[in-house]
């Protein structure tokens, strides 16, 4: 998509190590996400995927190494700073504020923004994107159906005007139709120029839409290649992709 040799990465890990207590979780992880890319991070349980996301978002501070956001080292910066700079996440299982109305959920997405007009404009854009959401603005978000909740979750993340959107397990525990909607949404957002970093167990599905991918195993990046090459990789087939039935 983008010429990686010239552009500066939007988000970067440079030799990141993290610890939980005394225990070593991420081991010398290097990652780079360039503007407008759709990349995925694959790995089974316990590989450190969640920790990677948490480190990107500033919920975990690396022991050594640097987390770089648009050329700036943000190791010590809080989550809010990173969100302000255009990193945001659609969490696994949507996790809406169920007691708050749909509109309040969307507004909270724009919590750090001060440009009132811009917020209004973006709200309109989201309504356009998801007409069903507009119909339910004043409903408590907990009362929505699964598909609608997914839309609100994505809309909420978009309200932060992200430059890179992190997606945590977008297919986990969802009905087939929803998984499909979800991946379509991801592609749609991607086409608008937002970089997407997707963490997935369902490697087949993720690689089918991604540009590039990394494979994480017990805290170490063991594979780093284009999506096509990964799909063709026999080792990966054996350990993650299975017979392709799913």
């Amino acid at each position: 998509m983008t010429d990686q040799t010239t552009a500066t990465p939007l988000l970067e890990f440079r030799g990141v190590n993290t610890h939980y207590g005394a225990v070593h979780i991420l081991k010398d992880v290097d990652l780079a996400i360039y503007p407008g890319e759709l990349v995925c991070l694959l790995g089974g349980n316990a590989s450190g995927k969640s920790t990677t996301l948490k480190t990107l978002l500033g919920m975990v501070t690396p022991t050594t190494g640097e987390v770089v956001l648009d050329g700036e080292v943000v190791n010590d910066k809080p989550t809010s700073y990173r969100v302000e700079r255009g990193v945001t996440m659609v969490p696994e299982n949507r996790r809406l504020f169920k007691r708050l109305s749909v509109k309040e959920n969307l507004q909270l997405g724009a919590y750090l923004r001060t440009d009132k007009d811009g917020i209004e404009r973006d709200l309109e854009r989201i309504y356009e994107m998801f007409p069903r959401v507009k119909e339910r603005l004043n409903q408590k978000s907990g009362t929505l159906s699964g598909g609608e909740q997914q839309m609100v979750a994505v809309g909420r993340a978009l309200m932060a005007k992200p430059r890179v959107l992190l997606m945590d397990e977008p297919s986990m525990g969802l009905a087939p139709a929803l998984v499909q909607t979800n991946f379509e949404l991801i592609q749609q957002i991607h086409e608008e120029g937002v970089a997407i970093f997707m963490v997935e167990q369902n490697a087949n599905m993720a690689l089918s839409i991604a540009d590039r991918g990394w494979v994480l195993q017990t805290g170490r990046v063991v594979l780093d290649d284009s999506a096509d090459a990964l799909l063709a990789n026999p080792d990966l087939r054996a350990s993650y992709l299975g017979d392709g039935k799913r």
Binding site: G44, S145, M172, A175, A177, K245
Partner: protein, 263 residues
Amino acid sequence: MSERLLTIDNLSVTFGGLHALRNLDFHVDQGEIVSVIGPNGAGKTTFFNMISGMVTPTEGDILFKGESLIGLDPNQVTARGIARTFQNVRLFANMTILENVMVAQHCRTKQGLFGALFNTKSFKEEEAAIRAHGEKVLGFFGSRLVGYRLEQPASVLSYANRRRLEIARAMATKPEVILLDEPVAGMNPKESEELTALIGELRSEWGFTVVMIEHDMGVVRDVSDRVVVLDHGETIAQGSYDEVSTNPDVIEAYLGRPAEEAS
């Protein structure tokens, strides 16, 4: 078909004015494996919660072997012979693996204070029987949960093994019907294939009747006698896998595209 085991008659549940389930009719015969599918938020887990007594329906009746389960506490439902697992795996994580299956036999045993304090003969016999049955259900999953594992806390288990232990725990309650809530969620293809086979054995070897919520259509296809599709708290289709998977309503609401493509 054989005896009707579980009948759900015109059942509705409302939470604060919102219909979680509406006019649901459903039945399970002795020895069947029935899958319940449907989009997220369709009320599948509520449905399970209701059968197991954790939620009381607003209307309608649940009959188990001809007797109503309405108003029973969850422990009484389990005692009647319905056991369940949970979508998000809820083990007693700090109890050992053996203790997890031993404690599940609570409603099938009866030793109280007296036996424990005076270490009576019947107490010892019962303890031994509890232990034996526990090991037997654990043994169903091969060598994974037995041996040195027996005395390990459940929290050390891998994700897939936690799911297995949860099923073992449900089996330990000596049920007639077992309710499995997304048994293969989060498992890799190999593991889910193996579990699919075991679900078949739950019926063939143990004689359990199985009701299962599952998103993995492959598993649903492989084991179910019958598939029930829920959407917005209502049954939209019911029948064999082939019937259901080609039903346009189901494709619209759940599958997103015909099943052959999806799988």
